[in-house]
């Protein structure tokens, strides 16, 4: 147990420099804009007074390191700056948009895992029907692009069947049932591709685990086949499966940006896309920071899970 705690501590410590590097990149975002960012931001409103005022507020007239120091200090205190279009603070913008993105991505990830893992296990351990059925689903799920699938789902469920609303959003805290009705199509759009990747990884990893000598020994001990597949082979396949879930979470975040925009969900992704179009750089900074931090934290969690799944990883013994 103490080995596991040490492993968790090491992983947490490694995350700190990663978050630091992330903050540097996000901070520099505003300086990567070609030309004068303030002039670009202000567009036709770029009068000399406005430029000077915004530049002063952003602190762009100070040395770079001092700017970063102030920015990081504000960040640590929960102040991500201000939206120059609406005048709202980024913290309040994120407070309303982050729950939307969290709901969309976590629902999608959980569903994709709950369907994809058992599907992969059955494809690896049952007859040819399961195998070829899963194979077909995987190829379709990986090949179909999210945006096209989204359009088709909207055409089918709102156009032809008229079961679901095409776009819009109701807060989860206001009305759970209506919230979920708006979530069905975006979640479904994201889930199909995710499930395909997870099922494919689970299938090959479980298949490989079932060829290991310990499977023969478990049979020789009279352990039931179901337990060999779902307890032993699945746990041995757990490291690649968890790794893919972590990586796919990044893909999912990327997908959610498109999907939020397409389905009119007021999440961090939509906030960021709109901000990019408006050249609203502080909002872009905040959105990117939040999305990237989510990816890092999910992968930290995945790494901790891997340490629990395979004790050799926690011991650094090499799997």
């Amino acid at each position: 147990m103490s080995e596991r705690l040490r492993f968790a501590g090491r992983r947490l410590l490694i995350t700190i420099p990663v978050l630091f590097v992330l903050s540097v990149f996000v901070f520099l975002l505003i300086h990567l804009v070609p030309g004068d960012p303030v002039r670009t931001m202000l567009g036709f409103r770029a009068t000399p007074e406005n430029i000077a005022r915004i530049r002063g507020e952003l602190g762009l007239d100070r040395p770079l390191l001092a700017q970063y120091g102030t920015w990081l200090n504000n960040l640590v205190h929960g102040d991500l700056g201000r939206d120059y279009v609406s005048g709202a603070s980024l913290t309040s913008l994120l407070r309303t948009s982050l729950p939307v993105t969290l709901e969309l991505t976590s629902l999608s990830m959980v569903l994709a895992t709950l369907v994809g893992v058992p599907l992969g296990v059955l494809a690896a351990s049952r007859g040819r029907g399961w195998r070829s059925g899963t194979e077909g689903f995987v190829i379709a799920g990986i090949s179909i692009p999210d945006f096209w699938l989204g359009i088709m789902l909207v055409l089918l469920f709102t156009g032809t069947l008229a079961w679901l609303p095409p776009s819009g959003y109701v807060k989860l805290t206001d009305d759970v049932a209506r919230n979920l009705r708006y979530m069905v199509l975006p979640v479904l759009t994201l889930v199909i591709g995710e499930t395909a990747y997870i099922a494919r990884t689970a299938r090959s990893a479980v298949e490989e685990a079932l060829t290991k000598p310990f499977v023969g020994y478990l049979r020789a001990k009279g352990v039931a086949e179901k337990s060999i597949v779902f307890r032993h082979a699945l746990r041995n396949a757990g490291v690649p499966i968890a790794t893919v879930i972590g990586i796919q979470f990044g893909v999912l975040l990327g997908g959610s940006i498109v999907i939020e925009y397409a389905f009119g969900l007021p999440g961090v992704g939509k906030l960021t896309v709109v901000a990019i179009n408006q050249r609203n750089y502080t909002v872009v900074q905040g959105g990117v920071l939040v999305l990237a931090a989510m990816f890092i934290l999910v992968n930290l969690f995945v790494e901790l899970m891997i340490g629990v799944i395979d004790p050799r990883v926690a011991d650094g013994a090499g799997a």
């Binding site: 049979r219 020789a220 013994a317």
Partner: protein, 337 residues
């Protein structure tokens, strides 16, 4: 799996035996015709007896073990009779065989490092064997696992219980496998090369442990090995197999004193002994014959220094002493016509 039980000649008398294998044959269909992996093998094991199954790789030892455990691949065709504690196993249904495995017929594997699941603790893997065969609480299963871990000499089992296999030494892992074999108090243990992967000093400890358990519990043991040194140390009787057939079987002392099959003699000559000069080791010339197609004669003939015209026909099993049978024309009236 195609099965065709044949009652043994003394099927009724075999009730006192832990294991009675009669006329066991196993064949695999292949592109080049049926491959006869095991051909007409018969031997018996009494309770508290250690019987060695000896021969080169590919001689059919492991196929015999898999037949007893009901773990042959589906394409294998099995004939003959295997009676375990009076019960016929050839043709027994899969669920019955699963219930016997790990419960009344336990296995000790050759390579505990790859045979233990690396992701589960050693304790869980033993407790799981208990729960696969009996409806007992987790606490009871754990207690039984702790008891056998102590019995096989794992120091401080309670603190070791949650350790995954990689934290144990090879010798300790082999003890874990032995503990898993013992936990349901089996009637028969099949030990497949249990000491091959271990250092010599650890080998001696493991063999001593097996003998102690046999003495204390009266468990019958089939020891599969190619190491005649191990056979001399622990076995009561020896069955020498060659190319899927029994070449010779005898009490261990008789076998070492009067080896009567040329293959047994060759095996004994190829055994390194202390004080031997370098280069003095005898090797058996030639290789095991291809087991596909018809093999009517003595399967060892091609490598045998004594072969004669009669070796074209299959030699009968001739008795040369108390419990000492040999399948060779040399003891059945000579190799000449």
């Amino acid at each position: 799996m195609m099965t065709e039980p044949i009652p043994g000649p003394d099927a009724t008398a075999s009730g006192s035996l832990a294991l009675d294998v009669r006329g066991l044959s196993v064949a695999y269909a292949s592109a080049r015709g049926a491959v006869s992996a095991v051909d007409d093998v018969s031997f018996a094991v009494a309770s508290a007896e250690v019987v060695g199954l000896v021969g080169e790789s590919g001689c059919g030892k492991s196929t015999v073990a898999a037949s007893i455990l009901g773990l042959l691949p589906h394409r294998a065709q099995m004939r003959g009779s295997i009676r375990f504690d009076g019960e016929e196993l050839v043709g027994a249904d899969a669920e019955r065989m699963r219930h016997l495995r790990g419960n009344r017929i336990a296995t000790i594997v050759q390579d505990p490092t790859s045979s233990l699941d690396p992701t589960f603790s050693i304790g869980e893997q033993i407790a799981e064997t208990v729960r696969a065969h009996a409806t007992v609480s987790r606490a009871t299963a754990k207690q039984r696992a702790l008891d056998v871990l102590a019995e096989v000499g794992i120091p401080d089992p309670r603190s070791r219980y949650d350790d995954p296999p990689h934290r144990l030494s090879g010798g300790m892992r082999q003890r874990v496998v032995i503990a898993a074999a013992l936990v349901n108090d089996p009637t028969l243990i099949i030990a497949d090369e249990p000491t091959t992967a271990l250092d010599v000093t650890i080998q001696a400890q493991i063999l001593a442990l097996l003998l102690r358990l046999r003495d204390e519990r009266g468990t019958a043991i089939v020891l599969i090995t190619h190491d005649l040194g191990v056979v001399a140390t622990v076995c009561d009787r020896v069955v020498t197999m060659y190319a899927g057939q029994v070449a010779e079987q005898a009490p261990v002392l008789a076998l070492f004193a009067h080896p009567s099959h040329p293959y047994t003699t060759a095996l004994l000559d190829s055994m390194p002994s202390a004080g031997q000069r370098p280069g003095g080791l005898q090797v058996i010339a030639g290789t095991v014959p291809d087991l596909a197609g018809a093999l009517p004669g003595c399967r060892f003939a091609a490598r045998c220094a004594h072969r004669g015209p009669r070796c074209e026909a299959r030699p009968p099993l001739a008795t040369v002493g108390e419990g000492h049978d040999v399948a060779c024309w040399l003891v059945a009236g000579g190799v000449g016509l």
